[in-house]
């Protein structure tokens, strides 16, 4: 089956960005509507990826293949399985919401802002669908450019520092991966096909080295403790849309990399070094949870909560059982919705008050009841309340972890307390209580546009929490296949 759907998912937003740039920021109405049209078109072309997806197959679907760089035997090879497919939809949906979120807020160079997000969206889809090492790397690294500009050009007061830190940190990781990719190319006798690499037999020593090269790259992206320090800076300084894309999609790239590269290519090293990853994940879950507790800046708090949640994801991958891996994937999607919503909520307040400090708020519920309801709902999801999507993933991972080792599961379960503590305490201080100051008293409730954006996410969070089957169904066969593959030694 040769379909062009994946190419459309990648190139519709990227090429759509060209007219957006061309129109320029003077004609703002046109720019907004055109950006929205492109984003919606980009989302619509990804829908058949779900509806036509055959959940019984574990292999790659919607495969596209054509020669690209003959000298390195690198191909334009795209394809998705049950693991990558949900993220393409998630990404395309989030892009629509980000365009809507930047509708009125961004006043400076709006065309470039929208265009950067559209390009970003296409590149992200490219990362999730690339099955060629070079192609993957190219998308992976090219996506740094729009994010660098987004943080640096529309960010907060310390944006330049944050943009450089984000770019250089991530580049550091990916450069080592480049060396590993080239090494694999030579070792496999001249193939950049990731699926060929899955079958490649490797000795233990090279496996360990490759695992470490990948680990550095993906750990920075996830981000795992102790290479997480770029994330709070980037989140705090980035504009709302930037934070949303960063949290909802960009962080998933690292975790996705583990499933697509580390686990299947070097399974023995993965097993060997799993205790290390589990330890790092638990540190992220618990220690970063405590760090989140003491934050005074809402964005920083959510950033740390993201790191803590992503710790769950890496934990789920490296306990090597079906429920753990699926739970981690569900957690990734759920975190995509919830963290996006949380950052959008903070964005809503920031647009009105120009402050992210918890201390500047108090009693928001009195002036913004609709908003407060949604904010409380998303906070509940963030702390893993049953019937929200946040619960499903965490529960599955904890279940898997207990199967693996009781104490690991026990430690991971601490997050249920910590997550509730830092999120709900923030909500208490921001939303409830008496009206904190005169500025809060003047707040206007959210308009229909903001309501739409948050409403869509609320529906997703609730649907996924109540009935996660459509999400787990598609990934089941692929995860099964992955685990069978990982269980076989390559030595």
């Amino acid at each position: 089956m040769n379909s062009q759907l994946l190419s459309l998912a990648i190139w519709v937003p990227i090429l759509g960005a060209v007219p957006v740039f061309w129109i320029g920021s003077e004609r703002r109405t046109l720019v907004r509507w055109l950006s929205l049209a492109v984003a919606v078109a980009g989302f619509l072309v990804t829908i058949p990826l779900y509806t036509d997806f055959d959940a019984t197959l574990s292999g790659m679907q919607f495969v596209e293949q054509s020669p690209w760089i003959t000298r390195f035997n690198a191909q334009y090879l795209l394809g998705i399985d049950g693991i990558s497919m949900p993220f393409i939809l998630l990404n395309s949906l989030i892009t629509v919401l980000v365009v809507l979120a930047g509708w009125e807020v961004i006043e400076d160079k709006q065309a470039q802002y929208m265009g950067a997000f559209l390009i970003m969206s296409g590149l992200m889809n490219g990362i999730f669908s690339a099955l060629d090492g070079v192609l993957f790397y190219v998308f992976f690294e090219a996506s740094l450019i729009p994010m660098y500009i987004i943080i640096g050009a529309w960010g907060g007061p310390n944006r330049v520092y944050a943009a450089f830190k984000f770019f250089l940190y991530t580049l550091l990781g990916s450069l080592l991966m480049l060396v590993a990719l080239i090494w694999l190319f030579l070792e496999s006798g001249g193939s950049f096909n990731i699926l060929d690499w899955h079958q490649l037999r490797l000795g233990m020593a090279p496996q360990i080295l490759i695992f470490i090269a990948f680990l550095v790259s993906f750990a920075v992206k996830v981000p795992m403790w102790p290479v997480h320090t770029w994330l709070p800076d980037a989140h705090v300084e980035a504009p709302t849309g930037g934070s949303v894309v960063l949290a909802a999609i960009a962080l998933k790239l690292g975790a996705y990399g583990f499933v697509r590269f580390s686990l299947p290519i070097v399974p023995d090293a993965s097993h060997q070094l799993a205790p290390l990853i589990i330890a790092l994940s638990l540190i992220a879950v618990i220690y970063i949870g405590f760090v989140a507790l003491v934050q005074t800046d809402m964005k920083k708090l959510i950033a740390y909560s993201s790191i803590s949640h992503m710790g769950f994801v890496t934990l789920g991958f490296f306990i090597f059982n079906q429920i753990g891996v699926e739970g981690a994937l569900v957690q990734m999607i759920s975190h995509g919705f919830v963290s996006a919503a949380m950052f959008l909520c903070v964005g809503v307040m920031y647009d009105r008050m120009h402050s992210r400090m918890i201390a500047d708020y108090g009693g928001v519920v009195n002036t913004m009841p609709k908003f407060a309801a949604l904010f409380v709902f998303f906070s509940m999801a963030n702390s893993g309340l049953p019937a929200t999507s946040g619960f499903v993933g965490e529960f599955m991972v904890i279940l898997g972890a207990i199967k693996f080792n009781f104490w690991v599961g026990f430690a991971a379960a601490i997050t249920l307390i910590l997550g509730a503590a830092y999120t709900l305490w923030m909500v208490k201080r921001v939303v409830f209580g008496a009206v904190g100051n005169a500025h809060v008293a003047e707040l206007k409730d959210i308009g229909s546009r903001e309501l739409l954006v948050l409403g869509v996410l609320a529906v997703c969070v609730l649907a996924m929490g109540l009935y996660p089957f459509p999400f787990t169904e598609v990934m089941h066969a692929s995860v099964d296949n992955l685990l069978k593959h990982v269980a076989v030694s390559k030595l």
Binding site: W68, F139, A142, G152, L171, L186
Partner: protein
């Protein structure tokens, strides 16, 4: 004696002869019309180069032909490099037209020196004999010394020319000395002859290696590799920007040809020795170039240090041809063509980067400080985007040609077993990314200090846009250029 004289086959050298003849025409035209119609010399120069390109294309048959008693070679590689040289020189002339005119530097001498420098490069590219190589090198270098000092009232330019001349003369001396040693050891000055003797293993190794050291030093000077790089920052900084652009583009192709002809064609038998020397210089160049570039506030100096590091990366390809003393044609072609590809990519990016400096300059003002790029996105979003492409390409970020160039040389180096060197190289490219990012930061995150409108002519604007878009397009579709590089090398080895 005369009876022995055989008229050499002039056909393979037709472009060189044409250029030489046309240079006289330019000289006369400038003499007669120079005062009133300056554009005529410029136009004729461009026509000459286009004519050379036509002749090169027409006489290119893919065969390797030696002429002038085996002193001159015409092969696919030389045709390819010459065509690129013409293109780079023509682009430089278009870029610099207004800049030179604004400063009253568009005199006939400028065009003549450019033509003679081009002729020198062509001779270097086609050299099949040490002496031919030396002749070409001197013709190019002497013309370049003159060009650096073309603004004779500029003390900085004169100083730069002096430095360039003194150091260049020293390097030529080293090169010549190395050549004489190798001649002493092998009894031949011909590139093919030297290779033959080495292959038969008849030459005395200590003498050869002794000569090789000097030869490599001479080549490294022309490429600007550490520790023979001292001239680069001062000359790049001191010369008028148009001349800097010239020095930073086409001569790199000629220097690559020189390195390839001398080291690979002639001294392939000593590859194990010179690869070690190149390895050290490559790592030093990449390290020093990237570190020193961070400290620069002048964009010409920054690009000078960046040139040093780029040549270091290029050499990574050049030194990866022979693995463990085993000669394998496939590996060798792969490695050398990656170096060639890197050079081509670098020339393209370098032209674009200096083109940006020329774009922002105007009569009486040279936009050579990094500050001048502040807020460019507000002044001209289009050209800010063009500069963004060039900067990210130089930093080696995909989807631009610079990434695939780095990718190709890294692949060659890792294939040759230099994995540790490759890791060092990518780590330094991380440091390098910082100063390219800084330019992007100035353009996009800062507010302009200079809000004067961009006055550059339409020719410069169009060419610069095409140049930057080519950097992007050849990054999206890198196959074509890579294949041409590989074919040119394969058919000429």
């Amino acid at each position: 004696m005369l009876n022995n004289f055989v008229m050499p086959d002039l056909y393979p050298a037709a472009p060189e002869i044409f250029l030489l003849l046309m240079s006289f025409v330019v000289l006369f035209v400038d003499l007669i019309f120079g005062a009133t119609r300056r554009w005529m010399a410029a136009m004729l120069t461009v026509i000459t180069l286009i004519g050379c390109a036509v002749i090169t294309l027409a006489t290119s048959d893919g065969q390797t032909t030696l002429t002038f008693s085996n002193m001159f070679v015409d092969d696919l590689l030389s045709d390819f490099l010459k065509l690129l040289t013409y293109l780079a020189v023509i682009m430089m002339l278009v870029y610099s037209r207004q800049y030179m005119a604004d400063r009253g530097l568009d005199k006939g001498e400028f065009y003549l020196l450019v033509l003679y420098a081009t002729l020198g490069m062509m001779v270097m590219i086609s050299a099949a004999n040490f002496l031919t190589m030396y002749l070409g090198l001197e013709l190019m270098s002497l013309s370049l010394y003159g060009l650096v000092a073309i603004d004779r009232d500029s003390t900085r330019g004169t100083e730069a020319a002096m430095k360039y001349f003194v150091l260049g003369a020293l390097a030529s001396g080293l090169l010549l000395y190395g050549m004489s040693m190798i001649y002493g050891a092998t009894g031949s000055l011909e590139i093919g002859g030297v290779a033959q003797v080495l292959y038969q293993g008849q030459a005395e190794r200590p003498v050869l290696v002794f000569g090789l050291v000097f030869l490599v030093a001479g080549v490294a000077f022309k490429l600007g590799l550490v520790p023979f790089h001292m001239w680069i920052p001062d000359v790049y900084h001191g010369a008028p920007t148009a001349v800097t652009m010239f020095i930073g583009s086409a001569p790199k192709l000629a220097a690559f040809a020189m390195a390839l002809r001398l080291l690979v064609y002639a001294l392939f038998g000593l590859a194990v020795d010179w690869q070690k020397m190149l390895l050290i210089m490559a790592v030093l160049s990449i390290g020093l170039g990237n570190l020193a570039a961070i400290a620069q506030t002048n964009i010409k100096r920054m690009l000078a240090y960046s040139a040093i590091s780029h040549m270091g990366y290029m050499v990574l390809g050049l030194m990866s041809g022979v693995v463990g003393g085993q000669v394998d044609a496939f590996t060798a072609v792969n490695a050398y063509s990656s170096a060639l590809y890197y050079t081509v990519a670098y020339v393209m990016m370098s032209l674009g980067a200096f083109g940006m400096v020329l774009l922002l300059s105007r009569a009486g003002y040279d936009a050579e400080n990094l500050e001048d790029f502040k807020g460019l996105n507000k002044r001209s979003p289009w050209f800010a985007a063009m500069m963004l492409i060039i900067m990210f390409s130089m930093a080696g970020i995909p989807f631009f040609i610079g990434f695939f160039a780095k990718f190709a040389v890294l692949l060659a180096a890792i294939k040759a077993g230099y994995t540790a060197v490759a890791v060092i190289a990518v780590m330094f490219s991380l440091i390098g990314a910082f100063y390219y990012l800084r330019v992007v930061k100035l353009m996009y995150f800062d507010t302009p200090v200079d809000s004067a409108p961009i006055t550059a002519g339409i020719d410069l604007r169009v060419l610069l846009s095409l140049n930057a878009l080519a950097v992007a397009a050849f990054g999206l579709f890198p196959d074509a250029v890579m294949m041409v590089c590989t074919t040119a090398l394969m058919r000429s080895l």
